[in-house]
Symmetry: C2
Subunit: 382 residues, 2 copies
């Protein structure tokens, strides 16, 4: 087990009706004016926006709206929101949505207080020295962003999808009400399942130090996701399954399962970020395509852990059987496992590989993931 620091000050308010507490929570933190960020107008149709507005009103908190944040959120929108936040002198950012809205909100929170160009923070040209406090009401469980300090944004101009993270970008409070997730589409449910599994396996397979206690926690998360995705596909309104799915999503990336591990990378994310940046495919859909291909390529580097995965998660024997079972499970739940299902052809591979290689340095994986290797992996996913 490697040395580590663990610090995660985010307060999670989990459960039914918790969104009604938002005004009170902001007031407790002394906040009087927020930038309210969201994605589509769905939150206006389904009543969540009204609930939030009412709670804010009750506590005398005013808000400036910033809607229209898209999946694979983009830098131009972050810049627009930073202007709004500055113009109206908001004291906090309130994210109402899924991971894309929350990631954008963290970038907005850091960018508002940064004097320079916000993308510099993503390029690591400057550290994040401060940020507006971020509060969240989560409407989709997938990214884990509700209980970590990371944020991923795409620069549309440069086709770069990069991340930031700092002690200043942990949400102060995240409200996770699984009932708000009952209207998530079938597609986004299965993409989310793939995303959570990806967050789990990146460290699990690639860490050079991977304590068994942590492997057990990761397997607990993956088993929970598999079990509850199946329940939810049959019965989208099963509250308990939504709740277990949501908590597993939080656990997968709140640092607990990564404590004491080291030497790991995020190769599946590195490759997928290019699919999202170039072809705007949903992140989870890209991941379910990349993972089986990557696993087949990577397996020989850590055969014991792949055997363990097969045994603990699927009750099978060999690593190859485990990979096949995961791919089959992705097929079964209806998340893609082939580039062709994303509309990506062999002719587009060279440009895709170029983009991945552009990510490789940023992800610290340039040595291992050469042009030949990335091409090999992506060809397995055709």
């Amino acid at each position: 087990m490697d040395n580590f620091s663990f610090y995660n000050p985010t307060r999670i308010e989990f459960g039914k009706d918790k969104e009604q507490l938002i005004g009170q929570i902001l007031a407790e933190h002394g906040i009087r004016k927020v930038l309210l960020t969201y994605g589509s107008e769905r939150i206006k149709r389904d009543g969540l926006f009204a609930t939030v507005g009412k709670s804010l009103d009750k506590h005398g908190i005013s808000f400036i709206e910033c809607g229209g944040i898209v999946s694979n959120p983009v830098l131009s929108k972050v810049r627009e929101a930073i202007s709004l936040a500055r113009e109206h002198k908001v004291e906090a950012v309130l994210s109402v949505g899924g991971g894309s809205v929350l990631d954008s909100s963290k970038a907005i929170a850091a960018g508002t207080l940064y004097q320079g160009e916000v993308w510099d923070l993503f390029l690591r040209k400057a550290p994040i020295a401060s940020a507006l406090p971020v509060f969240a009401i989560l409407t989709l469980a997938a990214t884990g962003s509700e209980m970590n300090n990371g944020a991923v944004v795409t620069n549309e101009a440069t086709k770069e999808k990069f991340a930031i993270g700092s002690v200043h970008t942990f949400p102060k409070v995240s409200i996770v009400n699984p009932a708000l997730m009952q209207t998530v589409s079938r597609d986004y449910l299965v993409y989310s399942a793939a995303d959570i599994i990806a967050h789990s396996i990146e460290g699990y397979f690639t860490a050079t130090v991977q304590p068994r206690v942590q492997s057990r926690l990761v397997e607990s998360v993956i088993s929970t996701v598999i079990e509850n995705t199946e329940v939810l596909l049959a019965e989208p309104h099963d509250y308990n399954a939504r709740a277990e799915f949501a908590w597993a999503s939080t656990l997968a990336l709140n640092g607990i399962t990564y404590a004491g591990t080291s030497g790991f990378g995020y190769p599946n994310h590195m490759i997928e970020h290019s699919l999202s940046a170039l072809f705007n495919v949903p992140h989870g859909a890209g991941l379910s395509v990349v993972m089986p291909a990557w696993m087949k390529w990577y397996q020989g580097r850590n055969p014991a852990q792949f055997d363990r995965f097969a045994q603990q998660v699927f009750g099978l024997k060999t690593g190859a059987e485990g990979i096949a079972a995961l791919e089959k499970w992705f097929d079964k739940i209806g998340t893609p496992t082939r580039l062709s299902q994303l509309g990506i052809t062999e002719a587009q591979l060279p440009a895709t590989v170029d983009n991945v290689l552009g990510n490789a340095a940023w992800f610290g994986l340039a040595d291992l993931y050469t042009r030949d290797v990335v091409t090999d992996i992506l060809k397995r996913a055709l």
Copy 2:
């Protein structure tokens, strides 16, 4: 899954040599003078005290010593330390030791800023409105106190062993260096294993709402404790086993495994606290006696979970087999499973039951744990 709030702001600094950071960490928090609490003089013989002193000196932090805190820490010592803390106007409490020292330190931290009698906080006559910041260097992994806000102290005069907990009593930073635990005696290692397992099973078996994801996490913790206790009994200097054991200990009671569960009690602790209060038996030794007896008594109330325990932890089939396996394992590692091994006789049962009944109201378990029930459980442990 029930509604919950999760908030745990303790920063964990885990790993080799981390104790050398203590001066720097205190300085970061603006601390200039601390009450340094500890137990026996062992830390002076083994060099830890010198290491800490050097690190404090380097950062210009002065300290007042308060040693001699015993296992099953006592109120009189807490009062003595509060006087010292007030007299010297310390700004923080630095705990160097195991759970007893750390629990005492939390009580000292809260008591120093409370104008009344500190035991009132334990009797819930007054809320904990503030506390000095607490920092810890952990030398024994068992209680989980390093990453939660709880503290258990015995009032020797009244023979009451009660707890406090508040948002103000989370340690700010806890340093957990498994290498410092290599000199823990064989006895205290196995008592610690029993303690961690007790923290794990109290909720696991008694919660009326126990999400499967949380059951999986608990089983991960218990399996890790069993596996690594065996490694450590064979090879006390196996650093990785110490580390996995220590992290499992933290996970067992940092709130993660209890999130979303509800309706649970701490019946094994309720009973054991009386054994410690009356006969001063080590907490973990008392727990390994109480647990098998309690499990046999309780099993019929939650048979499915006992079957699950047998299957997931021991690869057995029935709940009864699982209980027998745990008892056998306690015997194997050498932690007691019978009251007689603690020197407690049948003649002492009535007085013991009286004391347990005195705890029952405090633990909120008076309805279920009547005189007959507690007698029944303790007789099974004779």
